[in-house]
Subunit: 223 residues, 2 copies
Amino acid sequence: MTAKALVVLSGGQDSTTCLYWAIREFGAENVSSVTFDYGQRHRIELDCVRELSALTGIENRVLPIDTFAAIGGDALTDSKIAVCGEVTEKTGLPNTFVAGRNVIFLSYAAAFAYQRGIDNIVTGVAQTDYSGYPDCREETIKALEKTLNLGMDSEFKIHTPLMHLSKRETVELADKLGAMPAMAMTHTCYNGQRPPCGACPSCELRARGFAEAGIEDPLLTAS
Amino acid sequence: MTAKALVVLSGGQDSTTCLYWAIREFGAENVSSVTFDYGQRHRIELDCVRELSALTGIENRVLPIDTFAAIGGDALTDSKIAVCGEVTEKTGLPNTFVAGRNVIFLSYAAAFAYQRGIDNIVTGVAQTDYSGYPDCREETIKALEKTLNLGMDSEFKIHTPLMHLSKRETVELADKLGAMPAMAMTHTCYNGQRPPCGACPSCELRARGFAEAGIEDPLLTAS
């Protein structure tokens, strides 16, 4: 049986790099993606996902999540723990903030994968740049993988190709994978602007990664 | 600091027993409950929860989940794994079936508990009667507890007071805890009937538990 993979695609730089990584590892015909519509403030993310799917030809499914907003809207005083990776770059959503959200994203991805006979799940979490976010750490992902395999009697493997990469290395990997045309379609700006504002922490982090890699960000050229 | 507890309450026999267990262990003033509205076919479950909350005076919050229906509605040919415990008794919902659903319920409960400074989560899963459901097994719950603690940098304890009890022992525990008046408000029937149909597997399982315990089911007397 051919190994199939499901990429958790947010429309950001990291998960888009993972999409190309999965295509290289498993072959385009064996890759699909899933995106969560959890009421994110920047609906542009979902536009990005559509463009990326059209560009790559990789099937995408958008799944709704109304629960985060319901939880977050109730008691939202603690910002000690935020969501991780590219999700964080784009949100700053007090009304949808939920601790451990990444655990739930990956659990849904596994439930979705289970029904389609997919064993490999790919996510763009990285502990290098986001060490403050406990649900992005390798240890958490390993524990979750075990939980999901016990809970669904399955043999999922959660792949985290960016786990130990710096932003610079992620840019270099994207370049090597031929993902640069796709980078023009990704969304990073914390303020939800396109062209990006260039001044927010997310834009700055992205810019630094491209600068350190010595590569021009196609998003800026495209804008 | 006083230990606080959150009970995952479905309106069924098992989780209602757990509600009374939590009241005994933590004190009524430290207990609250959460219920998931995931599109269950039998809306009567939510009525049961309201009645139980009124009876016990324990605060309850209903959280919506629209994701299961979206996943389940897509590809629903595999019924190898079902949800566990009392949820199973009441559903048989092809359009909302999701493998590992219990993992997601408890993850949401933890996210909700996190925001309220609650460390103890109580669930009615039991591996005795439902050994076929992998996300009810003790091993799965232990792995999930570890995952949630790593992912939220927390010290949650997931309590499963019914884990190793037979249905008879669960009835005896409910009786000992003074939960019998509440049992009249619980919902079990697979066919969603109230009074219960008495013929479906869920009704039969419940009836056997009460019969073996030598206790009259208040639900039948109340009907």
